[in-house]
Amino acid sequence: MSVATFVVLFLNGLANGMLLFSIAAGLTLIFGVMGVLNFAHGSLYMLGAYLTYWIVVQGQLNFWVALLVAPLIVALVGGAIEIFCLRRIYGQDVSFQLLLTFAFVLLIEDIVRLLWGSAPLTIPQTQFGGTVQLLGRTYPAYNLLIISIAPIVAIGLWALLKWTRWGKLMRAAAQDRIMAGALGINVPRLFTMVFVLGTWLGGVGGVLAAPLRTISPAMGDNVIIESFIVAVIGGLGNLPGSLIGALIIGQLNSFGISIAQRAQVAFPFILMAIALLFRPQGFFGKVRR
């Protein structure tokens, strides 16, 4: 493998991993604070990608408009799901929360099908700055854009959790929601905020992925599984862990094909099973009692 090939594969993996992080971060944030495993996260990501198509191709607007507007619409949908449905069953068994979000997978996929049809769509790459020269190879500039946007999201999220009042409240509710409620924190409103923020992140992932991938109603089915894997190997609810997890999966996807070919596809699942069995707190998490 030449140096140039290595660098290109590495950058592909990095872009893939960064993209995966912005999606998985939302999933793991929602799980960490609320204890809800949101199956609809992949569908909301898919909705984000379709909204991007709607804004950029059908609406002939700038990509940045899509990056601003589409995740907000997705977050509104997420907020509606939380307020009207999910909120009613927090007292129940966790399985039912998972199943409720699964019902939304069915619903969202078919609504998208109604609005945009089942045929796969693509957004022409030409709108995103074309290519750059890199070690004698042409490389799509858009990948570099993703590599730079995702860390901004990560740092923003970290700063939000670390320094803002909302962040502190979220961390408090994640540790002990009953105690947080007893101390006068409005936990239901906080949960709505967390769910909105988490789905917003899924929407951002959808917008970023739209120019890279084929947009289809089933695109969320694979992403949700990948996000589960990232969230699990990083430790469910552990944001820095999921960043490392996403980068590992990204590189695996990128280099794996040239090294192990067919077995590569099974490797993330094996990693996930090992993490769940031997380190349920994730490879990068501390044991929490």
Binding site: C85, F228, V232, R262, F269
Partner: protein, 344 residues
Amino acid sequence: MRNRIESIASIIGLAILFLLPLLFSPFNLVLLTEILLMGLFALSFNLLFGYTGLLSFGHAAYFATGAYVCAYLIKISIPFILAVPAGVIGALVVAAVLGYFSVRLDEIYFAMLTLAFGMMVFTIVFQWREVTGGSDGITAVSPTDLGIPGLVVKIDGFANYYYLCLVVFLVAAYCLWRIVRSPFGELLQASRENADRLIFIGIDLRRLRWTAFTIAGLFAGLAGALWAPFQRVANPEMAHWTFSAVPVLMTILGGARSFAGPLIGATVFLLLEHVIQSNQRYFWQWLASWPIFPPSLAERQLDLWNFFLGLLLIPLIIGFRGGLIAYIDKTIAMFNKQLKERGK
């Protein structure tokens, strides 16, 4: 008195099930066979979900193992009568191995781990092209005869296969029913209600759950082994996590807390699917008259079954976790009460 009514009702029910092929068109028989096999799949899932309290999101793996082993053996000219049990044993082995690890976790982590294992099986059937045929699967699986030496028992044709599935289904459902009513079944329900107490009185919880997992995998494999010759194909979709969701949804629809719930769920699920898929063009035509939808909508031939299913499931999950069977029970109880009051 009540027992007698119940036994008469079940004899009449059985007679109807056996006489249906005389009345129904081949299409309806296909639907009935689907209901039997998916019903069995959902029953096997509910041994874990409703009785043991473990939500498996990878149950399709065992269904697919049964289907693939059976289809592969039929392809290499092994008689049907041997291929189906081999499929069941295959599913049993896979479920025993994966279940051994899965039962180490519970709640959401159990769901995630079974999902991961299920997707591993999916990857194997998808990638191991030499044996499984890759994305096409194993096609043209069409046995014509049971394959007992010296005895001709035809199983091609819709009615013959329906009878075969009916017999197998009745035997399997009876076995499952005996299992959940045995002391073992009582222990499973006890572990669902309070696992800690069960450990305190000296029960090996993991082993208990492992056994339940393996039995559930076995019956899922049986459903799959009969499904592949029925569909004439074993394909990777049967192992995908979206297929694992099907018995989950059927069980939620029918009600997880009763034995017949998943069966009723499977029946309603497949009947509704059929009714909606054959009538949804009217819905498109109505929608196409709205300004926000493109007028070409009516010609797109979209399948909106999942949309309606989602709409149906959301209120069921939020407000009525007993499923349809609890609703039926409630209605019957109300009816009885009214009758009694009238008698006064």
